[in-house]
């Protein structure tokens, strides 16, 4: 069982091996320098795992440390060293007969592998909610479900791992279906995923993995402090809803006693229905939230809300205006109605979002990130007094996908990290770690604000003094005074008289 588990992690992935020698790019100075050093010492060039998903890289790395060393792939042959392998011999070859790539509907990936012994196995890994229901043994799944919950509580990213022995005949038969699907011209991906579903059934659940995407140092503490300073936190991420929620909990962005208001699209509904449902939900939530918050302000309850919204749902709620743009004469009337309605939706969304203590927006595009910032900046919530200035916004980001958001906010902060300098170059402040924000905002910002305010007030005060001095002086000297006082006195005297 342990063997199969690590075998899956070492084989069921899209990671490739790269030596730095070949593609030492100028941007990766440190790696290139390390490679040069190794070359000078006569060592073979260092190897790195390269892949789209950092999770998979973590799996392959962990597996190689446990003894299942992935040594690269040639076409569909993966070279792997296991504890079975004779160290004097070259690594074993595992032939990948078929790969069912990850898609968002199945939420898992699997490979059909021919092992060196000739046996054929289906190795799969994927979201626990997708794989556990496929278990051959239901009790097994329940046992693992317990651990999944345990991991999720720790804020770890979980994936389930499964295996299935395929009889040779069955494998050959399925492979034919798979290849047919792969050669389809229309609806190829649908056919492939249907084929995948056919084989991804009744698997033996091997176990669950837990990956930690380490929070930076002191993130939770920083967030708690900023929250105590009455700053509202919005997380805008390209990640999935579930991951974002998990990270939200582990970073103390969300607390367990908070009510989550989720806005997601139901894939089975039509766009119009979905939209109507979301708008309806928006109305209901606004009512409950404002009632609960009123109770809270009276000291009644400790209700607190967090809003979780999906990028597509956001687009539905806010991006409606473009779609209603028709210029037909008869449509004109209806169009203004639709526009009004869209404006109303937007207003009530912003109203609700502002009431919540935390907003998580998942799967949002860079322009949507900027759109959210602009919403908070520009949309006046009905009922705000006229003298209240627009709320001050700050955007923090590290990559190119945050540039739009950083430019849209009042203050943009770039975090210089692995993802290049684009964010930093368009930002107003650049820091190296998230927790520096605490000091930047609460000490530097606060002090600067106080000092500059004093400076301005003092400036006006000083100039006022100078000016009034002039005025009184000119009154005190004869120039203006006599006439003025004379007349006033006379007028007063006459009146009183």
């Amino acid at each position: 069982m342990l063997h199969d588990y690590w075998l899956t992690l070492a084989l069921c992935h899209t990671v490739s091996m790269s030596t730095v020698d070949n593609d030492a790019s100028a941007s990766d100075g440190a790696k290139a320098a390390a490679a040069a050093a190794r070359k000078a010492q006569g060592l073979p060039p260092a190897k790195f795992f390269d892949g789209e998903s950092p999770d998979e890289i973590a799996f392959v790395r962990a597996a190689s440390e446990v003894g299942y060393i992935f040594e690269g792939s040639e076409r569909n042959v993966y070279r792997l060293r296991t504890p079975y392998t004779d160290p004097d011999q070259p690594a074993d070859s595992y032939t990948i007969l078929a790969m069912n790539k990850f898609d968002h509907e199945r939420r898992c990936m699997s490979v059909v592998v021919q092992c060196p012994g000739g046996s054929i196995k289906l190795l799969m890994k994927g979201a626990d909610s997708a794989i556990l229901p496929l278990a051959a043994n239901v009790q097994d799944a329940a046992k693992h479900q317990k651990h999944v919950r345990l991991f999720a509580e720790q804020g770890l990213r979980t994936l389930a791992v499964g295996v299935k022995e395929l009889p040779e005949k069955f494998a050959a038969q399925w492979l034919r279906t798979h290849n047919e699907a792969a050669s389809n011209i229309d609806g190829r991906s649908e056919a492939l995923s249907a084929a995948a579903k056919q084989i991804e059934q009744k698997v033996e659940i091997l176990g669950v993995t837990a990956i930690e995407d380490k929070l930076q140092d002191n993130v939770a503490e920083t967030i708690a402090t900023l929250r105590a300073a009455q700053i509202k936190m919005w997380v805008l991420t390209g990640d999935m809803v579930l991951t974002a929620i998990t990270i939200g909990y582990s970073s103390k962005m969300l607390s367990p006693d908070q009510t989550l208001l989720k806005y997601e699209l139901k894939p089975k509904m039509r766009a119009g229905q979905n939209r109507a449902r979301l708008v309806q939900q928006l109305k209901e939530d606004t009512a409950t939230v404002s009632a609960a918050l009123e109770a809270r302000s009276n000291g009644g309850s400790k209700a607190s809300f967090a809003l979780v919204i999906d990028g597509r749902a956001l687009h539905m709620l806010l991006g409606h205006m473009q779609r209603t743009a028709t210029t037909n004469g008869i449509e004109q009337n209806r169009e203004t109605d639709a526009k009004d309605e869209a404006m109303n939706t937007m207003h009530s969304f912003v109203f609700l979002a502002r009431l919540c203590d935390c907003v998580l927006a998942c799967r949002v595009s860079p322009s949507q990130k900027a759109q959210m910032v602009k919403l908070v900046r520009n949309v006046r919530v009905p009922g705000t007094p006229w003298y209240r200035p627009e709320p001050c916004t700050l955007a923090v980001g590290d990559g190119a996908n945050d540039v739009a958001m950083i430019q849209a906010a009042h203050v943009g902060v770039g975090i210089s990290g692995h993802e290049g300098r684009q964010a930093v170059n368009s930002s107003d402040f650049a820091i190296h770690e998230f927790h520096f924000l605490k000091r930047l905002l609460l000490i530097h910002g606060q002090w600067n604000y106080h000092r500059v305010c004093k400076l301005i007030l003092y400036s006006f005060y000083k100039n006022g003094c100078f000016m009034w001095l002039q005025l009184f002086y000119s009154f005190e000297t004869v120039r203006v005074r006599l006439w003025c006082i004379h007349h006033c006195r006379n007028a007063l005297a006459f009146t009183v008289w």
Binding site: V66, L156, V208, I211, V219, A404, I431, H432, R439
Partner: protein, 201 residues
């Protein structure tokens, strides 16, 4: 969408000060008008009429000879007199203050990351005050809150938990366990277990 030209950011305080400056200017104009009118009236009353008790102001009884009409000339006189109302020097002072503050931020030892020799960097000093008034914060997740380094932490295999949340995953121990597991398998299938064990250590 990322190519939009970078907006020139003006802090809200600067906007507020500019607005107040306009108010101050209006106030100044009002005061100038009051002073001007008073002055004209007084002049008419006291100087023009050859009032004797203020003979020293115009001892030779000359007509005033100004290039501009009286009211306009005195308007400008008072304008110069009251120009302190608008604190031009304040902008300079603010710039200096912000410059010093930017230096404070840049040189803050508590915002220094020794591993990369990185200091905080203040790129637009005039936004320093804004930092103190933030109400809404928008953050990215991956790479901002997290360090974007995935680490294998725990495993649950066949219903048994390996690893613990407070320690890094012990791959060495896992290796031994896997080998032992394999070894028993190999024993059963009458292989050579020592060979298996040897390969792993």
């Amino acid at each position: 969408m990322n190519n939009s030209k970078p907006p020139s950011k003006l802090s809200r305080m600067e906007k507020g000060v500019n607005r107040f400056m306009a108010i101050a200017f209006c106030l100044q104009i009002v005061m100038i008008i009051i002073s001007d009118v008073s002055n004209l009236a007084w002049y008419d009353a006291n100087i023009q009429n050859n009032d004797t008790h203020m003979w020293y102001l115009n001892p030779y009884r000359e007509e005033r000879q100004l290039a501009l009409p009286n009211w306009l000339a005195y308007f400008f006189t008072f304008f110069v007199l009251y120009n302190n109302m608008i604190p031009i020097s304040m902008y300079v002072m603010m710039e200096i203050a912000n410059f010093v503050h930017a230096a404070f931020i840049n040189e803050d030892a508590n915002m220094y990351k020794p591993e990369v020799d990185g200091k905080a960097l203040c790129r637009s000093a005039n936004l320093c005050q804004e930092l103190g008034q933030i109400e809404y914060m928008f953050t990215d997740k991956t790479g901002t809150l997290t360090s974007n380094e995935m680490v294998f932490k725990m495993a649950s295999i066949g219903g048994i938990l390996y690893g613990s949340p407070d320690r890094p995953f012990d791959t060495g121990l896992m290796r031994v366990r896997t080998v032992v597991d394999l070894g028993s398998l190999v024993l059963v299938s009458s292989g050579s277990p020592h060979r298996v064990l040897l390969t792993c250590f």
